[in-house]
Symmetry: C2
Subunit: 247 residues, 2 copies
């Protein structure tokens, strides 16, 4: 289809969160991510891509041939690529049964951190991610980018986190907290909810009172001086690794 100025303007408007929220659509960019999108169950509204890209892919939706200059106009990346897509947000049902390892995020703010967590959760077979309502938006373009396609496979739900934690039906809840048990010595069940906190403040007081157990990753630095904490995505990775390797 022809890429009119009006269409370009419409596509470019999805750089704004307000527009994404109103239209319930989000932007996916780059070859790898768009290919993952097309293989997923997400509905795609439109693809904007170079002639070469369009010729080498089967497109299940509206598609627009574009020059690199045109893609640059709608791209949210520093280095725009050959393809840009607009997809429909997915609203997952409220979770009913909790199985395997469930991640819960309490106020994670940084898009790169959320994206990295979704990617590693997919790797470690986490069954779903529960976000408190003050977490960064999963459809923020930087989040989508950092997931490298994992966002199309991992269910991410926004809920009232304290209310959620009150109804885990016997599934043991853990929080990462420096005052907790040494994770390397802790007994970890197969079914569990693991709560990770905000980058600066950790888990909120309300959530802290609702979890069953706390665990921490000890430092192996023997110089007597080390960082106060690990980055939240890094800490999540190590804890997921500990939960999963012990099967």
């Amino acid at each position: 289809m022809e890429l009119s100025k009006n269409k370009l303007k419409y596509f470019a408007s999805f750089g704004k969160k307000k527009v994404r929220d109103e239209e319930q659509k989000f932007v996916v960019e780059g070859n790898k991510s768009v290919e993952e999108l097309l293989q997923s169950s997400f509905r795609v509204e439109a693809i904007v891509a170079t002639r070469e890209w369009l010729d080498s892919h089967t497109i299940p939706c509206e598609s627009y041939e574009a020059t690199h200059e045109e893609i640059e106009k709608i791209s949210l990346l520093q280095h725009p690529q050959d393809v840009w897509a607009l997809a429909y947000c997915k609203n997952y049902d409220t979770p009913t049964t909790l199985q395997g390892l469930v991640l819960a995020l309490d106020g994670v703010q940084d898009p790169g951190n959320l994206g990295t967590i979704i990617r590693l959760a997919d790797w470690f077979g986490v069954s779903q991610i529960i976000c408190s309502t003050d977490c960064v938006d999963v459809y923020n373009p930087k989040v989508v980018q950092a997931t490298m396609g994992a966002v199309f496979r991992m269910p991410v739900r926004y809920v009232d986190l304290p209310e959620f934690l009150k109804k885990t039906n016997g599934c043991v809840t853990f929080a990462a907290d420096m005052a907790g048990e040494n994770v390397y010595e802790a007994e970890l069940p197969q079914n569990a909810v693991l709560v990770m906190g905000n980058e600066g403040n950790g888990i909120s007081d309300e959530v802290a009172q609702l979890v069953n157990r706390t665990i921490h990753i000890p430092s192996f630095n023997t110089t007597g001086k080390t960082s106060e904490s690990l980055n939240v995505a890094v800490a999540t990775a190590i804890l997921c690794s500990e939960f999963k390797r012990r099967k």
Copy 2:
């Protein structure tokens, strides 16, 4: 001291890599990072800060009182803070003995990844980090920021990586590679060099031929569809955790 227009211009010029390289100085921003800088062995040229910040700290160098508007002019952050500092780069000697766990990075490009790796290496008591010459500059402001102060404690050296790997004097070298041993089942020595590769391409062919062993982190995703790899900082974290927890 008085913050003249010329001084402001001089300080602002350190946003450019060329100026940093020529002058061998780098920018540190934010309360936490600057406090860590002042407690470190790094030499500081100048501090620019608000009256309140200066009043509550002991300053061992030139200092300039500034308004938030003035700090904004020299800041490289999206949200400038109360203090900005200019420090001298440190050039560590070439490593002679290799002890404990040594990290080697082969073409890590993303500043956030390098910064996160330095921070977690500090946490896990890695003894030093060796970077190939094509890794991102450790004094890049985004790297410094992401280390949260760990850059002032962790020795980071840039070397010809293949040459370095030829002379490890019996210290076993490992590379993270999907075709390697399952890390959870591998025997890991106390003294080792662990090589992590570039974000897109992994380790280079030349480096691959020089390492003694390869290890990988298996996926626990049982859906038959998962990401191709983990983010390099996340993979480094899990491998460091595995090396260290087994003591």
